[in-house]
């Protein structure tokens, strides 16, 4: 199996502003968001990054998408380093951040064309791809409705579709089912499985166990910016439920830091 995406010992720290210090009730000036983290995603697999709030999932994914630069280490995406050629990496991946939003004023149709142009997709290819994707995800009837007037689920679907206008082989989604009701979450899950079937390599972050169990081949559990375990779903759970395993590992870790 081809190692399509390698996260190599990345570290990321943030300076905490005085305002944030108050909000987070901390005196520390520097926050280590991701602490020497490594993992590999293989071609055609779905990799799940599991962690609680503030664990460092978003920071990790942003480094993979070349939106922010790691302090140490590197991410190699299909042979390209994010540190050395970030723009090239951006062209190779489809990225959906949890904070990604669409401009309310525009229609899905317009936004699709706009991002297709920015990604340098040929006109004809873009038209064909739009027809396919819009049909598959039932966006066609809403194609000319302003994003502001779409339901949350529909907005998320449009966001997903737009993040893959350029048909990337590697797809990185940050909490794609966050804040969605069960029905819409199901739509997203099906969407991801569909992409997997097409042979895409996918990395998703989440704190929802069921999502991982449903779609992931491989799981990494992040606690406090560190990779606690990283293995195939089968090996990791070993007959137990993922939730049980997560809390086992969490307790182990918490115990460790307790002793220190």
């Amino acid at each position: 199996m081809k190692e399509l995406l390698q996260v190599q010992n990345v570290k990321k720290t943030f300076k905490i502003s005085a305002k944030q210090q108050k909000i987070q009730k901390t005196k520390e000036r520097i926050k280590v968001a991701v602490d020497h983290l490594s993992f590999t995603a293989y071609q055609g697999e779905v990799f799940g990054l599991l962690g609680s709030n503030g664990a460092g999932k978003t920071t990790t994914l942003r480094m993979m998408a070349a939106l922010i630069t790691p302090d140490e280490g590197d991410v190699v995406v299909d042979g390209t380093s994010v540190v050395k050629s970030p723009a090239e990496v951006r062209g190779k991946i489809g990225f959906l951040t949890s904070e990604l939003k669409l401009e309310e004023f525009f229609t899905p149709n317009y936004l699709f064309d706009f991002f297709a142009e920015l990604h340098g997709v040929e006109k004809e290819a873009a038209v064909k791809r739009k027809r396919e994707l819009f049909e598959k995800f039932q966006i066609s009837q809403f194609a000319e409705v302003k994003v502001a007037n779409l339901s949350t689920g529909m907005k998320q679907k449009v966001s997903l579709v737009i993040s893959i206008v350029h048909d990337p082989d590697i797809i990185i989604f940050d909490e794609p089912t966050n804040g969605l009701d069960v029905l819409t979450a199901r739509v997203v899950t099906d969407f991801l499985l569909e992409l997997k079937e097409q042979g895409k390599t996918i990395v998703v972050s989440t704190h929802i166990f069921s999502l991982i169990e449903k779609i992931c081949d491989r799981v990494g559990i992040i606690i406090d910016g560190k990779m606690a375990v990283c293995d195939t779903l089968e090996h990791l759970t070993a007959g137990k439920s993922l939730e049980e395993r997560f809390f086992d590992i969490y307790a182990e870790r918490a115990g460790e830091s307790y002793e220190k």
């Binding site: 944030q20 922010i68 723009a87 990225f95 904070e99 990604l100 669409l102 525009f106 920015l118 990604h119």
Partner: protein, 393 residues
């Protein structure tokens, strides 16, 4: 992928022009509002002063003055006598009571005193006291009307020569000169304000707004060059800012004659095609500078509100720079001064309008402004590239 600049521009234009409310409130409304406002104000001036009559309370009114005032029909006298009545009238005027606009006190036997007065012999000249309230427009008008009558009276006493008698036209200022003066005084500042407010209406929304709502991240995950994003935004926002400024400008120009009470007709035909061309260059380059400035501030801000509040002081400074064209001692002619952004624009516009444009200075201005805008694009690019600015918490 040079076309990305065009793509970004197209999106900005679509955002603006397809939004009927946006077009109405930021493009059409300012021009229309200014036009209506100034026209109404002009109307007010005209109607309130056309058949105004000054109500003057007067003590010891000399006949000659009365006769002279009667010709103009602008004064209604009511006579009073005695210290007490006079004090009463002055007090009423002071307290702003309706009744009189002015209290005039002539010494007793004014005409004889004037006739007897010999300037060469020295001594006290007969004095007329005029009590009025300069804070009250009616009172102020009464004062000037009466003063004029007295002036005429005074010059009629020693009529050794006449200045401008008869009906001839002596004021040789042509319509052209008037236009030139009005344009060169008012327009630089107005244009500066209009460009700024046009820019304020859109740039914070387009840059800080995208940051605030998180949509800028959608753009940043594409392989598009940051410089293309910066350039596309600045150029398209400049075009829109110029259109907004133009709307306000047209509104002002159409209503200015009305504001002046119809006495002055402003004639823009004074200017030739080169003047307009130079003006266009100066305005374009100025818009670029202003948009670059506001965009950079907006990119630093966390949200639209913060951006607007940061831009306001800059706008005030630029208004002050616009006013420099009205003050002679601040009008420099050496080209070096024309390296100062915004100041150079105000000076150039004033120069063009007063038909005294200096080609070198205009060239310096345009080139300098384009350079500043270029630096602005560069800085904005760096900001789009900076995770600290774009993803700050």
């Amino acid at each position: 992928m040079k076309s990305n600049v065009i793509t970004v521009m197209k999106k900005e234009f679509t955002r603006f022009f397809m939004d009927r409310r946006m077009v109405l409130t930021t493009l059409l409304m300012p021009g229309i509002m200014i036009y209506l406002l100034y026209s109404f104000m002009g109307q007010g001036f005209v109607s309130s002063h056309e058949d105004y009559q000054a109500r003057v309370c007067v003590q010891n009114l000399p006949e000659s003055i009365e006769a002279m005032a009667a010709q103009g029909e602008a004064i209604v006298f009511s006579e009073i006598s005695g210290e007490q009545e006079r004090e009463q009238a002055v007090k009423e005027l002071e307290e702003g009571e309706e009744g009189y606009d002015l209290v005039a006190v002539f010494p007793e036997g004014f005409e004889e005193q004037v006739a007897a007065y010999d300037m060469s012999a020295g001594g006290q000249a007969p004095a007329v006291e005029l009590y009025y309230n300069s804070a009250n427009t009616d009172s102020q008008s009464a004062y000037s009307i009466l003063l004029e009558v007295l002036d005429t009276y005074e010059s009629s006493l020693a009529n050794k020569f006449d200045v401008n008698p008869g009906e001839n036209v002596y004021d040789l200022a042509t319509e052209e000169d008037m236009s030139v003066q009005i344009f060169s005084m008012m327009v630089p500042m107005l244009l500066m304000v209009f460009l700024f407010s046009g820019c304020m209406a859109i740039a914070p929304e387009s840059i800080a707004g995208e940051k605030e709502r998180g949509t800028i991240a959608t753009l940043l995950v594409t392989p598009m060059k940051r410089s293309h994003l910066a350039l596309g935004k600045i150029v398209s926002l400049s075009v829109i800012a110029i259109l907004c400024g133009f709307s306000s400008f047209v509104g002002t120009m159409l209503s200015l004659p009305k504001l002046m009470g119809g006495e002055v007709s402003i004639n823009a035909n004074v200017y030739g095609i080169q003047d307009y061309l130079m003006l266009l260059l100066v305005i374009l380059s100025t818009a670029l500078v202003i948009v670059a400035l506001v965009s950079i501030v907006s990119a630093y801000a966390k949200n639209v509100k913060e951006a607007t509040s940061w831009v306001t002081p800059i706008m005030i400074v630029s208004m002050l720079l616009g006013v420099t064209s009205m003050v002679d001692s601040l009008c420099m002619t050496e080209p070096v001064w024309f390296l100062i952004p915004l100041y150079n624009s105000a000076q150039c516009m004033s120069g063009i309008f007063s038909l005294e444009a200096d080609m070198v200075n205009i060239a310096v201005t345009v080139v300098a402004n384009i350079c500043y805008a270029g630096v602005g694009v560069f800085v904005l690019t760096k900001m789009f590239d900076s995770e600290k600015v774009m993803f700050s918490k």
